[in-house]
Symmetry: C2
Subunit: 113 residues, 2 copies
Amino acid sequence: MKEMDCVSFCRALGDETRQDILQLLQTRGEMRVNDIVAAFGRSSQPTISHHLKVLKQESLVTSRRAGKEILYALNQNNVEECCGMLWAKFAEGKAGLSSPANRLAEHGPNARS
Amino acid sequence: MKEMDCVSFCRALGDETRQDILQLLQTRGEMRVNDIVAAFGRSSQPTISHHLKVLKQESLVTSRRAGKEILYALNQNNVEECCGMLWAKFAEGKAGLSSPANRLAEHGPNARS
DNA sequence: CAATCACATAGAGGAATTTCAATACGTCGA
DNA sequence: TCGACGTATTGAAATTCCTCTATGTGATTG
């Protein structure tokens, strides 16, 4: 399961196409490479394949062979763990002012806008 | 307050020196540029200045003039908001399996290891 | 005002990244 | 086994990024 590194995680997310791939896999579930390519239309198959490789190196996606095809899926657990790592690194500075849970409520994902 | 973009936020964090600067500012609070340079020892002053510019463009740090010096500080609110944005984008996929709050408890910042 | 201090900006070299066309590899069906 | 299909890899061009030295800018001091 690859050692986790905030920097390389962010680097992997620092590309629009890769973020779009992750989001696509999140909403559609397991997908074939060609279907991902088709869903974008803007990038060649080798380009998508390269991005998938980067994402896989960070364990953000998984892949399995199914006959001729290879199916990619979001590695939800690891994605969430990495996001949590980021949060832990940069958002738990002023402990005592508010608990992490409180800060999540204030600025986090389920904050009431 | 700059429009927020997951990709450029991650790109800003996709560099070790920049992550180190943020962490330094988090633990030490407001700092002069030269003190940041000194704290690293490994990077030139213009290099640090460049990274600070990148971080400021993403509103991850603030700066104010104090005489000859310029003081940089972590923009805690925005950092947390961006982390929350990331979480919201990639960690709230399978709604229904567990609530966002539950997933935070399972994999999030304050998860028991 | 001149010198100095603290920092920003300009410019350049080199490394890394993104992307594509071409090609190689692995699998299945005939 | 041969051809076709789906995907990975290679190699190269274009762009972006990181870092440095050199220099510019703004503020203080003498």
